[in-house]
Amino acid sequence: MGALSHITVCDLSGQLAGAGATRYLAAMGARVIRVEDPVRQGRWDIVRGSPPYKDDRRGIELGGGFNNHNVEKLGITLNLRVDAGRRLFRHLIGISDVVTENFAAGVMTRLGFGYDELCAINPNIIYASNSGFGHTGPYSEFKTFGPVVQAVCGLTFGVGAPDAAPAGWGFSYMDHMGANIMAIAILAALAQRHRTGQGQWVDISCTEAGLGLTGPDLLDYTVNQRPLRRPGMPDSNHSDQPPMAPHGIYPTTEPDRWVAIACRDDLDWVAFGDICAEGWTQQARFATTSGRVANQAELDELVAAWTSTRNRDEMASALLAGGVPASPVTLSEDRIEHDSDNSSWGLFPVVHHPVIGDVRVDGLPAHFSETDWRIERGAPLLGQDNHHVYCDLLGLSEEELALLQEEGVC
């Protein structure tokens, strides 16, 4: 039994911003029924069938990202353009606790399944919509994907060297975080429904979720009127608040292999000096945090000159053992194949996918003493669970299902 085994989710969401939320619920035991369009073979979800691939085979069932984002879900096909499909969808909503989607705002209403219609079918339904800008406001119909969300909300601006073009996030950070915020919203609504019996509509705006994650910088603006767009910014490898120096990502002996070092205070600096043992670590101008921050440019050059003569991993281990926060900037292989914590955590479990075969996926970063997560089943094939859902759960006969499939409804 999983923690959420009593919950059924009718899941129209996809990509990662939506699918990531229902993936979490599924790993915690919820029955997540992912609904895909048979006409377009589920291609609304751009990661379905997209790279990476495990081998030379290509096809709609072979997308590695799709498999990762949809583990432990049931998959059905259902054509919502036709009346018969909509009737079935109403049955499905009737047996669901939660309906999830991350279409552009307005799509569900045009399909005839806005919140009011969902309530008419199932009065206590929880409806979670997740879009770039939410369902109201002047930008509500604007279209987004991760990079646009993180650009608009300030997160992209906050990554980069001083006075340089934004480096931004090299991945869809806000797809992950939008999914997490969506999961929080659904769980809060479930907890609330347990207390009052009432469902509700939760409208998630990924850009607002992202703006809320930008940290104390935003309050520095609203309280102190200090904008982040100012000379010397964003300078994100340094630490202005709290002030720390040296604080940066420095080169090592190997090309494009880096080490991160952070001296939080003067004790860290003394410990750094013990390991580094260069004469300049004893200079009075570097003795205090304020002195090191004031002379940070020179300090960085000296630190970089020293780190570039050292092996990345040995240097990081020595510093950390000496009490100085330090770490290699790990590549995927370093942390996935050679990290003892990740392996003992079981962070990358193997799932079985009927077409791809056995492949590793993301696990979850919380272990539960009573109802731990389970990730064993790969993403569903198109319509893989049609029989189970339509016949076992919704009570259709095999003949009825066969006919509906023939007619292109399922």
């Binding site: 002047p138 279209k143 950070y173 930008t214 590549l331």
Partner: protein, 409 residues
Amino acid sequence: MTGSLEGVRVLELASIWGAWAAKVLGDLGADVIVVEPPGGHVSRTYGPFVDDQPHPDRSLWWWYYNTSKRGVALALGTVHGQQEFRRLANDADIVIEGEIPGALAQLGLDHQTMRQSRPELIWTSITSHGQNSPRSAMPWTDLTLSAASGLAWLNGYDDHSLPPMRGRGNQTLQICGTHAAMATLTALVHRDITGVGQHVDVSAFAACNITTESGTFVWLVAGQTVQRQTGRHAAVDPTMEVQVQSADGRYVTTGFLAQDAADFQALLEWMDELDLRQTFEEAFFLEIGIERGGINASRDWGDPEVMAILGAVRAALVHIAINVPALEFFEGAQERDLQVGIILSAGEAFENRHFQARGFPAEVTHDDLGRKFRYPGAPFKMSKTPWRISRRPPLVGEHTSEILGADPS
């Protein structure tokens, strides 16, 4: 209206790891009590500060992570402090803490002891590397955790003589915070049905490791390593640039390139409106794209004509972007159904008309300072039990006597 978690009592032992999760539960309506040492938690010494005046009650770091909480000062090293903490934990549905593994056991305040008599208690422990890792007793910062977990590797510039980049805003704390909140709420939903609580062990390192998108699954599936690029996804093979500096100096991102004939037409018409078409040399390829009825770039990748058309789409967006201010580019493109972005600072986004119209800024009264301040507001709109900052962050020990009784000695 009341919050979703009305009636749920959360006891938080102040830590950098647990603060965000407890704040969210508070904003969702739970009664959150944060326990700090006398004088206040160390994060109150982190700036920036109100009016740049350092003071434990003026730390904007503390403010950001501690809305909708009441605050109690307790010395857990004393017998009295331990008794009071035990009493508070016994009144709580949920305990959230971020202590080094073993530290609370030495005081007799660990989850095993506390849950023995109250199996319904939910106890969430958040550490850098989990309860069983010796690394959880080592010092970590946002920078070193970003580096260790694979986040930093993904961000940076095409020029690889420049280092990988961390993001601002302590994102590792928000990442583990979202997972801690998800896990805690999951345990609560489970307890609602079964009456059984549990211990939840959250690892910030694990959380960041799985918040890396293709940085992880491209390796897991294909055994390949993605490489950082300016302003766009890290990739195995270099991809087209997307970032452009617009006429007002701000950057925009050209996003997903349009492939439909109607979008090509919209671009040409937009350039006509702006009087930019005669200076756009690749209009010809957009016209071909219209005649073809659009393109399918993923299917026909490498086809010279398709690549030329795709290049013209990008060139058209660049041509417009460098000739108009960033906001005009962003709104103009999106109103034409072209999926582009504008790179705003957080403050600029906060003042943007969309977020203002949605009521995103949340005004919070700080009675002690006689001022009102604007905070980031609801990350989602709940139709029946709205998210809400129910109170400003607590001053040091502000609610000690209110919660522990008049005489705390």
